[in-house]
């Protein structure tokens, strides 16, 4: 299979290079059912994406802050965004909700909503949420830095990744440097109100230094690991680091 495919792809790529040079007709060649759908092209693009992960990690400033905006810029009716309708959002109740902890964490005792909402150093931020699709929206989120929780539970802060498992089946992961960034918070509130169900109750991990899909909602498990955990959209070809 592989032996059969390689020469074809090479020919395609060579033709692409030639035509690409000569005319915009290459655009039609590239489009539709053509080169993008080849396995080898997918692998090459995935390799470039991993290189971009490293480039973005190098670029990332651990204390460089995302721009903050004025109260009047914050959108009150924030856009609902998930791969299902708002009515189908998981309704987690304060009575039985528990945040499970696992992986490289010393104290894995689960956290209730009361315990979480009692965390110290809570503050507000008015920052821009940027979606990978291109839209963006400024909102006001409030809560404690994720780093406060990570330190309290004795997470291995030298580990590479912090991962999240969510009640809707969504999962994601971020680099430790971003997890410890001062603006990475557990958002308990949106627009000064307790986070509504459709926005991720009891909290959304709000990371203004990352694209929107890196901000998980309805989180039920948090874990720390050195093994690359991937994520829902990352497994579907989106760049993992996705920093802003």
């Amino acid at each position: 299979m592989k032996l059969e495919r390689t020469p074809l792809v090479t020919t395609l790529e060579r033709r692409l290079l030639l035509r690409g040079g000569f005319s915009l007709g290459a655009l039609t060649l590239l489009a539709g059912c053509d080169i993008s759908d080849q396995d080898s092209v997918h692998r090459a693009l995935a390799a470039v994406s991993r290189w971009n992960d490293r480039a973005q990690a190098a670029l990332f400033g651990g204390t460089r802050l995302a721009p903050v905006f004025a109260e009047k810029d914050a959108v009150k009716d924030f856009r609902y965004n998930a791969f299902f309708a708002a009515e189908d959002a998981p309704k987690l109740s304060a009575a039985d909700y528990k945040l499970e902890l696992s992986g490289l964490i010393a104290d894995k005792k689960p956290w209730t909503v009361d315990m979480l909402y009692g965390l110290p150093q809570q503050s507000s931020q008015i920052t821009r949420h940027v979606c990978v699709e291109g839209w963006s929206m400024i909102g006001k989120w409030s809560g404690p830095p994720l780093s406060v929780l990570l330190r309290m539970v004795g997470a291995d802060l030298n580990a590479k990744y912090v991962g999240f498992q969510c009640a809707d089946g969504y999962h994601g992961s971020i680099d430790m440097a971003s997890a410890l960034h001062p603006q990475t918070i557990l958002a308990f509130k949106l627009s000064d109100e307790v986070l509504p169900v459709k926005y991720g109750y009891p909290f959304k991990v709000r990371i203004p230094t990352k694209l929107g899909f890196k901000n998980p909602k309805w989180v039920t498990t948090m874990y720390v690991t050195n093994r690359y955990p991937g994520g829902f959209w990352e497994d579907r070809g989106y760049n993992w680091f996705s920093g802003l």
Binding site: G21, L45, G134
Partner: protein
């Protein structure tokens, strides 16, 4: 007999050579621009930066057949287009940097693309409009020079506004410079439009004077020594 022979003038040729590095950077740039624009159109379609409902035809954009990408990765080709865009950007940026360095240090800019001033531009533009502008291989008139500087400026704007869109936190100053995140996307669109306009004119002229294309491919083209002056 001798009089007849004397009338046969020796054919005098002007030889124009295009250095290998210029040819390589030119075609790599062409490839990078095609990839950037193709994938950029797919990305644009997902959430248009312009306020009116305008979209690029999917067949002309890069990111795979949406039906196929749905089967492969469960999405409609945005992930694929983004991967192309953030891959080809390195090719565009590095290749462009090599070209700029070559242009400055080899004297290519000074020799071939300077001087360019408003007076020469108006003179040559008027001559071109009357169809009286001579074309000599390897010699750029003032209008051409201005066009080349213009498209280079457009590429710079694309790289910087692109950086401002890709990294509005790490390069927030750049994003601010382009009028904030939302407006930077509009600037990025306008820069693309300028480059598209350049490509249309540039390709049309290259087809009208095929020897320029020959020179840009093989590195060498010739024309009768006085042809440029006569046309």
């Amino acid at each position: 007999m001798s009089a007849a022979l004397a009338r046969i003038e020796p054919l005098r040729l002007r030889v124009h050579r295009t250095p290998l590095i210029l040819r390589i950077t030119h075609w790599l740039n062409a490839l990078a621009v095609v990839l950037m624009i193709g994938s950029g159109w797919r990305i644009y379609n997902w959430y248009p930066a312009l306020p009116f409902g305008f979209a690029f035809p999917v067949w002309a954009s890069l990111g795979g057949d949406p039906h196929v990408t749905q089967g492969l990765s469960g999405e409609d080709g945005l992930a694929n287009a983004l991967a192309w865009h953030f891959g080809a950007m390195w090719l565009l940026a590095v290749n462009f940097a090599v070209y700029l360095a070559y242009g400055v240090f080899s004297g290519h800019f000074r020799r071939d693309l300077l001087p360019v001033g408003p007076r020469g531009f108006i003179r040559d533009f008027a001559a071109a409009a009357r169809g009286k502008l001579a074309h000599r291989l390897g010699e750029q008139n003032a209008v051409q020079k201005a066009f080349y500087w213009g498209v280079m400026l457009a590429i710079v704007v694309m790289l910087l506004s692109g950086l401002g869109i890709w990294k509005p936190v790490q390069f927030s100053g750049l994003t601010w410079l382009f009028g904030g995140y939302e407006f930077a996307r509009v600037v990025h669109f306008l820069g693309m439009s300028a480059i598209m306009a350049f490509i249309v004119v540039h390709v049309a002229l290259a087809l009208l004077v095929p020897k320029t294309l020959q020179s840009m491919v093989t590195g060498i083209a010739t024309e009768p020594a006085d042809e440029g002056g006569r046309r």
